[in-house]
């Protein structure tokens, strides 16, 4: 699970970087090695227009909504199956996802405000924040899918072993006795015919 989280985070962080557009060309390294130098810098300025940012953010919200909905479905499923371990795991992811969606909503509002004020730096900051939050929600969705629950710790069906004292009779002594047929020998008599 940790590996999955790491992989997904790496992928989404990577996509954040690419979403910010190509980085400006780095200044030539001292010593003049030319084309053999590797560019490891992160671009600081996005190439997206404000309208693109808003559209992209809306797509993020659609995606995050779908993820939250999916986690809710997983939560209901765990409730139905009475799988308490999985339910705890999924609920934890759902709570985190909702918190992140709230953060995203705040960022969206701030970003729109900054666009109105033409504050380019703030726009970029909030858009980056939104992107990261979206990635977190996506990762939480993936983690929720991977909640295993009792399957992982299943050790077999619950077995109850009752030890009954062998002295205790197996029949139910509280029941009324069976009617008994009376064939005892009658007393001596000299009947009148």
């Amino acid at each position: 699970m940790v590996k999955t989280k790491l992989l997904l985070t790496t992928i989404f962080m990577g996509s954040t970087v690419f979403a910010q557009g190509p980085a400006p060309e780095a200044p030539p390294a001292p010593g003049g090695q030319g084309g053999s130098a590797v560019d490891l810098s992160v671009k600081q300025k996005p190439t997206l227009t404000p309208a693109d940012m808003v559209n992209q953010s809306k797509e993020y919200f659609t995606g995050m909504g779908a993820v939250v909905k999916r986690i809710q479905t997983l939560q209901d499923q765990a409730k139905r199956e009475k799988d308490i371990i999985r339910l705890n795991c999924v609920t934890d992811k759902l709570v985190q996802a909702r918190v992140n969606v709230n953060i995203a909503e705040q960022s969206m509002a701030t970003m729109q405000d900054s666009i109105a004020r033409n504050n380019e730096g703030e726009q970029t900051h909030e858009f980056t924040r939104l992107t990261i939050v979206n990635q977190k929600v996506t990762v939480l969705g993936a983690e929720a899918e991977n909640c295993i629950g009792e399957d992982l710790s299943f050790v077999g069906a619950t077995r109850i072993e009752v030890e009954v004292d062998p002295n205790i009779p197996q029949y139910d002594p509280t029941q009324p006795g069976s009617p008994f047929i009376d064939i005892t020998r009658p007393p001596s008599a000299s009947p009148i015919d």
Binding site: D165, P166, N167, I168, P169, Q170, Y171, D172, P173, T174, Q175, P176, G177, S178, P179, F180, I181, D182, I183, T184, R185, P186, P187, S188, A189, S190, P191, I192, D193
Partner: protein, 441 residues
């Protein structure tokens, strides 16, 4: 319906044993064993879930007093054999399906007296018996039907009025031939978790003595219909307090003959309550106290404080897993054939011990004080001063069986019947010893 009922009837009570109703313990001489004392794994699997048990037992011994005589006892060797077959859905380990259980069995007892004087007057007897029980239902609702049939033939009583002075054998008196059939149907209801259980049962019993002329008991042929409602509340899984109401109608089939012999129809009512079940994991009890009334249509009827009181105390202790002791006392009344009814005080005890799954020891005894009430048509059954007959009856039974295999046994048995009456002609002492051998599978 308790499956043991039919089995006990088939093998035990046909002889001199008698069920002590509360604990369903057979008191007196035990009949031939039905199965091995240990885990026998017996029975022929004839289809899925149906077992056939079958067997035959032979007894040979000596009877010291064939005719229950107070004087001039006639002894005789005695030989009995009894084949039986049983069809059941009980498994070999005894457990049955919770939803359906059935049991059908039939047996036959053949009896022969070796004393030629006896056998010339009283031919060999063939006593068939059969039982059927079916139970349906689950934990909340249940339904059961059962039928038990038995025919018993036994030698008549000898008394100074009918005894042959030379042979000591009663003359002009037929054997006691009795046929009894009892059918019952019941519904069981245990709502919710089963703490409250209700049983409604209807029982029909027909009791017929063969009419073989003078001296037969056919005047006492009767039909008894009983409706029982039993409600028990379990405050522990195997311990309950209960209320039991039984109303019966006892009708003599030949009213004129019954009236001649001072017998009248009755409508006995039993309203009892108490405790049933385990006291500890090793001890159980049935403690019953209640009101009874015979409601005889004519003549004497039950009355007074003691006469209207029913008391049944029975204690069972499972001393070990292989031994059980039972002791009990009961005060009640019962229909009688020489007068309307008799008050009965009964004390009994039983001890059963198994040893290594091979040996089975059974010891039991009973004392009964029987006080006949009401008019009697037989002047011989009254004291010179006109008092009613009172019997003190003792019964002992012992048997020891060794199972050579789980399907073959050999054993010995002893029975004692001793009656002491305030009318001396009713006194008798009868002892029987047996060696027995059989197979049962």
């Amino acid at each position: 319906m308790n499956r043991r009922f039919a089995l006990l009837i088939g093998l035990g009570a046909l002889l001199t044993g008698r069920l002590a109703s509360a604990q369903e313990v057979t008191i007196g001489y035990q009949g031939l064993p039905y199965k091995s004392t240990g885990e026998s794994n017996a029975g022929i699997q004839i289809s899925d879930g149906v077992l056939l048990h079958t067997g035959i037992g032979v007894e040979a011994g000596y009877d010291t007093n064939v005719f229950y005589a107070s004087t001039k006892e006639i002894g005789s060797s005695i030989f009995r054999f009894m084949p039986f077959a049983e069809l059941t859905n009980a498994t070999r380990t005894g457990a049955t399906s919770n939803l359906l259980s059935f049991d059908a069995r039939a047996g036959l007892q053949y009896r022969h007296y070796g004393n030629s004087e006896v056998s010339s007057r009283y031919s060999d007897a063939w006593n068939p018996n059969a039982g059927l029980s079916l139970s349906l239902g689950g934990a909340q609702f249940g339904f059961g039907v059962a039928d038990v049939f038995a025919r018993v033939e036994d030698a008549p009583y000898a008394n100074p009025g009918n005894i042959d002075p030379v042979t000591g054998i009663p003359t002009g008196v037929p054997p006691i031939q009795r046929t009894n059939n009892q059918a019952s149907i019941e519904g069981r209801w245990a709502p919710g978790g089963g703490r409250l259980t209700t049983v409604l049962r209807f029982t029909n019993m027909v009791n017929i003595y063969d009419d073989n002329g003078a001296g037969s008991y056919s005047y006492a042929n009767a039909m008894t219909n009983t409706l029982m409602l039993d409600v028990a509340w379990k405050w522990l899984p195997k311990t309950a307090i209960f209320l039991d109401v039984q109303q019966s109608i006892v009708s003599y089939l030949n009213q004129s003959q019954a009236a001649l012999n001072k017998l009248s129809d009755s409508y006995p009512l039993f309203v009892t309550g108490g405790l049933r079940g385990l006291l500890t994991e090793k001890t159980s009890a049935v403690l019953t106290l209640g009101y009874i009334n015979g409601f005889y249509s004519s003549g004497a009827t039950t009355g007074g404080f003691l006469g209207s009181t029913y008391l049944d105390l029975a204690f069972t202790a499972r001393l070990t897993q292989l031994s059980r002791a039972v002791a009990g006392f009961r005060h009640d009344f019962a229909n009688a054939v020489i007068s309307n009814f008799a008050y009965q005080e009964t004390a009994y005890a039983s001890y059963v011990q198994q040893i290594a799954g091979r040996l089975a020891l059974d010891l039991s005894g009973r004392y009964q004080y029987i006080s006949y009430q009401g008019e009697t048509a037989d002047a011989n059954q009254m004291t010179p001063s006109g008092g009613n007959r009172i019997d003190n009856f003792f019964q002992l039974g012992a048997s020891l069986d060794y199972f050579m295999r789980n399907w073959a046994y050999i054993g010995v048995g002893y029975a004692l019947l001793d009656n002491r009456s305030n009318i001396p002609i009713n006194d008798y002492l009868k002892q029987q010893v047996f060696a027995r051998l059989g197979v049962t599978y």
